[in-house]
């Protein structure tokens, strides 16, 4: 089994309920294809540094996955057809980094 980090960017004008639907939809796909989710992170609505399909902001979802090539293939094939998504990125890692969450700090900063 391999470890992967998978990040999605969803459209800005999507409702929180729809984001949960997306999360459930893709976690189902992963689990149906010999994979399992180690950790899920929601980075929330963030500013994009450049326009993507006329979107200024994007909803970021981050999965840490244990699985094989088949899982990723199936996942990416369905994502290509999804109109709610702007981008996705899969990175294969040797070890999953479960402790540091780089984007939680960013959320706390504006509250202060």
């Amino acid at each position: 089994m391999n470890y992967y980090e998978h990040t999605l960017i969803a459209r800005q004008d999507i409702s929180p309920a729809q984001i949960k639907q997306l999360q459930e939809k893709y976690s189902k796909i992963i689990e149906n294809n010999e994979g399992s989710i180690v950790k899920f992170e929601s980075w929330g609505l963030m500013h994009l540094s450049y326009l993507i399909k006329k979107n200024k902001k994007g909803n970021y979802l981050h999965f840490k996955i244990e699985g094989n090539g088949k899982t990723i293939k199936e996942l990416e094939n369905t994502e290509k057809l999804d109109k709610n998504l702007l981008r996705f990125l899969t990175v294969k890692v040797k070890k999953l980094d479960l402790e540091t969450d780089y984007f939680k700090k960013n959320e706390e900063m504006p509250k202060k």
Binding site: T7, I9, L48, S49, Y50, I52, G58, Y60, R87, L89, V91, D97, T100, Y102, F103
Partner: protein
């Protein structure tokens, strides 16, 4: 003449960022800041770290200015490109 002035200003601004690494104190420091014990991990999610190694225009700074080792420079450029793809930088 005016155009020339603007160009000069830009280069100065850029240089001011570059000179962060070439302070008078650290002018002869040749050690790599990313390798060795206790060094930060290069990762495409660690934007704060990556932003130190790009210019104002978003270009990757050469290692001869930042004195990053060859191996770490390869890691850096890969993770900067990943962060660009996700519109983080």
């Amino acid at each position: 003449m005016k155009k020339k002035n603007i160009k000069k200003k830009n280069s100065q601004n850029n240089f001011s960022k570059l000179s962060v690494f070439q302070n008078q104190k650290y002018k002869f420091k040749k050690k790599c800041p990313l390798s060795g014990k206790g060094a930060p991990v290069v990762d495409y999610k660690n934007i704060k770290l990556l932003k130190r190694y790009i210019s104002e225009n978003g270009k990757i700074l050469p290692s001869r200015i930042t004195s990053v080792s060859q191996k770490k420079q390869r890691d850096l450029s890969l993770s900067i490109k990943r962060a660009r793809n996700l519109a983080l930088i």
